[in-house]
Point group: C2
């Protein structure tokens, strides 16, 4: 009698992992690096991306926009003459509150990945579920705004823990708020001591150069082989 | 031959509806009215509730706090000498991004509903999924902050459509923002023309009397029979 081989599905997100790996394969093949950018609604993802796209120089950037509904942010970024594809998470009962690997994959066909150095995925505005779904990215980054309160890292720990960069945005509003930036940074440090933390104002532009440098450096993580093939 | 009776489960949230109805039955029996308060992270739910609790007079209020993790808001509100119960949506892989009827039910045993006129449920900070789950409430209300952008009703339509009250918070910051309140109100009106809309600053207190009046009036929706039994 043969012994039955038992495979235990340990990861409830197994299907997502499989598809994320397929995305990763396609990104590697095309020689494109991918950033997954997340935040609460209204923290300033799109404004920060507008600043970065204006400063992109010869870095070839594309954007995949995730929203429950509409294409408001995609329209804003298209105006900066980069390829943008909109993925809506659902037109039915509320829609999903995050992008998963399959939703990202559904949008990839509308982008010529071989023509890009860097793909930025702007996730649905939400501090919970987007952090749970790997999409095949090179790096996860998040934005938190000084209007949101210093306790957010402790209330949404997975989001802060999963990101290698935490951008503190809207610093131009600090004089008008009862907000302790040092306490926010201490809370980030409690949850994710490895994270790089930077303060800026996407609205005024102050400090955005540092984010742009971080972002464009991600493009350097493109797989060398694919780059060699292109050269 | 008997004909097979076929019951089609039309509502994917059927189990939630069943439990929401059980919650509603308990609320009716106890003679308590319930408000489901929702917003994006950091829009000011807890600060607004602090203002309301300070002004509560003889309205007997309890709070059920929903968070992925921690009890920061519950601790703030407990300081105002009202019964508060904390429900955490998960200590494991990220946790749920919303309260559903069953999570609310899990917290009800720690509240003496018969001693309350009004139960306020402060949902997890998220503009998507909380709107999808009925918890047995009398009214749904949401807060959006002027720092979040005028487009939010169009990007998160179910949330705005499901609420009978939309509070526009942080109006004290308007002089420091590029924000068009009239455009936000027009967008709310496109999605939910029935909604009551009010502007206030929970931080300065300006305009909060109107919210308090709305909130305390919900307590008047308590079932008459239960109130008669108590009298």
């Amino acid at each position: 009698m043969h012994q039955t081989k038992v495979k235990v599905a340990e990861d409830a997100l197994d299907a997502n992992t499989t598809i994320a790996n397929a995305n990763r394969h396609d990104f590697d093949h095309a020689g494109v690096a991918v950033v997954n950018l997340m935040s609460a609604p209204g923290a300033g993802k799109t404004t920060l991306l507008e600043r970065a796209l204006e400063a992109r120089g010869d870095v070839r950037i594309g954007v995949l926009e995730g929203d429950v509904q509409g294409s408001f942010d995609a329209d804003r970024l298209s105006a900066l003459h980069v390829p943008v594809v909109q993925v809506n998470t659902g037109n039915g009962f509320g829609g999903e509150c995050h992008l998963d690997a399959n939703m990202v994959r559904s949008g990839l066909g509308d982008l010529d990945l071989h023509e890009l150095d860097l793909l930025i995925v702007e996730n649905v505005g939400n501090l919970v579920c987007p952090a749970e779904f790997r999409i095949g990215e090179d790096a996860k980054a998040m934005i938190c705004s000084v209007t949101e309160g210093e306790d957010k890292p402790l209330k949404y720990p997975l989001m802060f823990r999963s990101c290698e960069l935490v951008v503190i945005n809207k610093t131009d509003l600090l004089p008008h708020l009862d907000f302790d930036v040092e306490r926010l940074i201490a809370n980030i440090d409690r949850i994710n001591p490895e994270a790089e933390v930077m303060q800026l104002s996407a609205r005024t532009g102050e400090g955005t150069e540092r984010f742009n440098e971080w972002l464009f450096a991600i493009a350097e993580r493109r797989p060398r082989d694919a780059a060699a093939v292109e050269a």
